[in-house]
């Protein structure tokens, strides 16, 4: 028995010492670096300058989105405004989680007043087991390709018609929990996300129910490297929630994106072909409505800093399958640096049921100019 205990202790001691050594080694090296920094301040030695920001402040950035628009079906053709100012604060909280806050100030279309709101404010875990990651707070949901991305990062100025009709200009942005799981697939990337949220307060079709009905969303992202230079992403999204009549609306979405970027000259050339298709099934008090919407986008990098995009939009309204709205647009962007870009978009829209919103015109033309400028350290968006 004693032999066994001694053997056990003999085995454990080096392991414990190693672990203690690792701890004390890392403590020693932190201390050493601090001492070196102190010395460096006295002598002009380039040996040990700060390599990380010696402050607990978060990464802060401010993004300005300035626009001018021309629309021929309005009495006042031209409009200029600071469409959005986005303040972001991002940092690690502690060994368990990080936080991202995005505060957005924009001009209310009707009142003309600037109003601010928390666009996103959420915590993400850093070290859950089984390749899980949990988000808690208010966040843009994993629907398709453009919903999770902030508008200023997109290669077009207005949101696709189908997106606006189904999900609103702000898209699916809700408060609750989002759990994502990296599937144990070693051949290609697969990620499953499941959200349970309160129900959006402002959405064309979903509401925050007064009953025990919550919004659920699931998204499966599949990503393949076709070659070194080309990738394909295929996503499936399912959303279910209460609609205006306190019955259920279900929406299914498919996204398909092909990207070609020759690795060696990836800053000079790229082509992206991105598509999303939405199908909604709604039960209202006396009717059932099935509606569709889609967009198809082709972005071609025509120079190191020049991007040309063409987009086709087609949509019903989730409340009316008879309503059909179509549009074609082209956007030219000059991306001066990673921190500034100017874009010009021309769009032609055609609807079969004109309404007050369109000044009762069946067709109209818009020209939009957007100037994005960024200060501070805004994190990278997803690929």
């Amino acid at each position: 028995m004693i032999k066994k205990i001694l053997l056990f202790v003999a085995g454990m001691t080096p392991a414990c010492m190693t672990m203690a050594q690792v701890d004390s080694l890392s403590m020693d090296s932190v201390l050493l670096e601090q001492v070196q920094n102190q010395l460096a301040q006295n002598t002009p030695s380039p040996q040990a300058p700060a390599r990380t920001s010696p402050s607990a402040n978060p990464d802060i950035s401010v993004i300005g989105d300035f626009r001018t628009t021309y629309q021929d079906n309005r009495n006042r053709h031209f409009d200029a405004n600071l469409a959005e100012t986005e303040f972001s604060f991002q940092s690690v909280i502690d060994p368990y989680a990080k936080a991202d806050f995005f505060y957005s100030v924009s001009r209310d279309a009707e009142s003309g007043e600037f109003k601010g709101e928390i666009e996103e404010g959420y915590l993400s875990t850093l070290s859950l087991p089984a390749h899980l990651q949990l988000k808690a707070g208010k966040f843009k949901q994993q629907l398709g390709r453009i919903n999770p991305v902030h508008a200023h990062a997109l290669p077009f100025i207005d949101m696709p018609n189908a997106y606006v009709r189904f999900f609103g200009v702000e898209g699916m942005n809700d408060e609750g929990l989002s759990l994502s799981w990296l599937l144990p697939n070693h051949t290609f990337f697969q990620e499953l996300t499941v959200d349970v949220t309160d129900g959006p307060r402002e959405s064309p079709v979903f509401i925050r129910s007064t009953k025990n009905k919550y919004l659920t969303l699931a998204h499966l992202k599949n990503f393949w490297d076709l070659t070194d230079n080309a990738t394909l992403e295929f996503g499936l999204t399912g959303i279910s929630g209460a609609n205006v009549s306190e019955h259920t609306t279900n929406i299914g979405a498919v996204d398909l994106t092909y990207k070609w970027k020759p690795v060696r000259l990836n800053t000079y050339k790229s082509v992206t072909f991105q598509n999303e298709f939405y199908y909604s099934q709604s039960t209202f008090d006396s009717t059932k409505v099935n509606a569709v919407g889609l967009y198809s986008l082709l972005t071609w990098q025509i120079g190191k800093r020049w991007f040309l995009s063409g987009r086709y939009d087609y949509t019903n309204k989730p409340t009316s399958a008879q309503f059909v709205e179509q549009a074609v647009s082209a956007t030219l962007g000059w991306y001066a640096t990673e921190f500034q870009k100017i874009e010009l978009q021309g769009k032609f829209t055609s609807v079969n049921e004109p309404d007050e919103e369109n000044n009762f015109k069946k067709q109209f033309t818009q020209v939009l100019l957007r100037w994005i400028f960024v200060i501070g350290s805004h994190g990278a968006h997803q690929y």
Binding site: A15, V22, K304, Y383
Partner: protein, 301 residues
């Protein structure tokens, strides 16, 4: 019964020794870090380098396929100094692998202990793409390879302490090989000490200092800003007045602007290896300098 208990006990204590039954999975941001990791880790490591040797390491696309590699990694090695700030943090955040996050034992910042050049005293994006901690292209001084190797060795030893002697032996061999090769490279470059050259982007200062070159100007008027006609005129003047023979470019920049200067002045455009794997013949970290020095001395003669 007693034998069974003994076996279980021994097996348990062996497990507690952190003995790596399998290979250590290493993911590095660049091919140079991969090469050095393989030289130090030997047959105990399996290394994947995210960026290829011929692409711009600032602008690697953070493809989800890299997340799969990171999720299963035991060790992550980065160049640091914000070189990869546009893509590596988002990949690490999505990796769901607590072993390799910043501050964890499996995270290796290869820049620790490296003497940095061009540390800015003030930071202003009006000066272009400024790296706020110093110029991050430090691997292009082969003697910095020793510090990179030391940092990677430390990381491997944190993750697999039982094989410390093996890694230290490989490190010793690496350092000795480097010293020996360095003698040859210095001898080859000795007669070109002080030679003035032009470069496309400000990524050669460590190579320049080590081998005695003098970079007079850059085709980029400011880092990250493509060459302007005014800048090209300025460069043409500098090439002519200084008798410059070489314009150094990288595999991931087009040579159209460099070619304009070459055409006007007779200088030669040399696309050098910025990393292991830049060209087919550049297969490891030592090859980077063999290739670059051979290219330079052929033109400078």
């Amino acid at each position: 019964m007693k034998n069974k208990k003994n076996i279980i006990l021994i097996a348990f204590t062996l497990l507690m020794q952190n003995v790596f039954a399998g290979t250590i999975h290493v993911v590095t941001t660049t091919q140079d870090l991969k090469s050095i990791a393989e030289l130090i880790g030997g047959n105990k490591v399996d290394v994947f380098g995210i960026a290829t040797g011929y692409q711009n390491p600032h602008f690697v696309d953070p493809k989800p396929s890299y997340i799969i590699k990171l999720s299963g990694a035991d060790l992550f090695v980065t160049v640091g100094l914000d070189l990869e700030t546009g893509w590596s943090p988002s990949l690490l955040n999505s990796s769901r692998n607590p072993k390799i996050q910043k501050g964890s034992p499996g995270y290796v910042d290869a820049s620790l202990g490296v003497a940095l050049q061009q540390v800015p005293s003030s930071i202003n994006r009006g000066e272009g793409d400024i790296h706020i901690y110093g110029n991050p292209h430090y691997w292009l001084d082969p003697l910095n390879g020793k510090q990179i190797a030391r940092n990677i060795c430390d990381g491997l030893e944190r993750v697999d302490p039982a094989d410390k002697a093996f890694f230290e032996a490989n490190l010793k061999t690496f350092n000795e090989t480097l010293d020996q090769k360095m003698k040859g490279w210095s001898a080859q470059m000795a007669r070109f000490k002080g030679t003035k050259v032009i470069a496309y982007h400000n990524e050669w200062c460590y190579f320049e200092n080590r081998f005695g070159l003098q970079i007079v100007d850059f085709l980029e008027p400011k880092p990250g800003i493509p060459p302007t006609p005014a800048q090209l005129v300025k460069i043409i003047g500098e090439v002519k007045s200084n008798g410059i023979k070489v314009i150094i470019s990288s595999p991931y920049f087009t040579t159209s602007s460099s070619d304009v200067v070459a055409h006007q002045t007779g200088a030669k455009v040399l696309t050098l290896a910025t990393s292991t794997g830049a060209f087919d013949t550049v297969r490891n970290y030592f090859d980077v300098f063999d290739y670059n020095i051979n290219q330079l001395i052929t033109v400078l003669k």
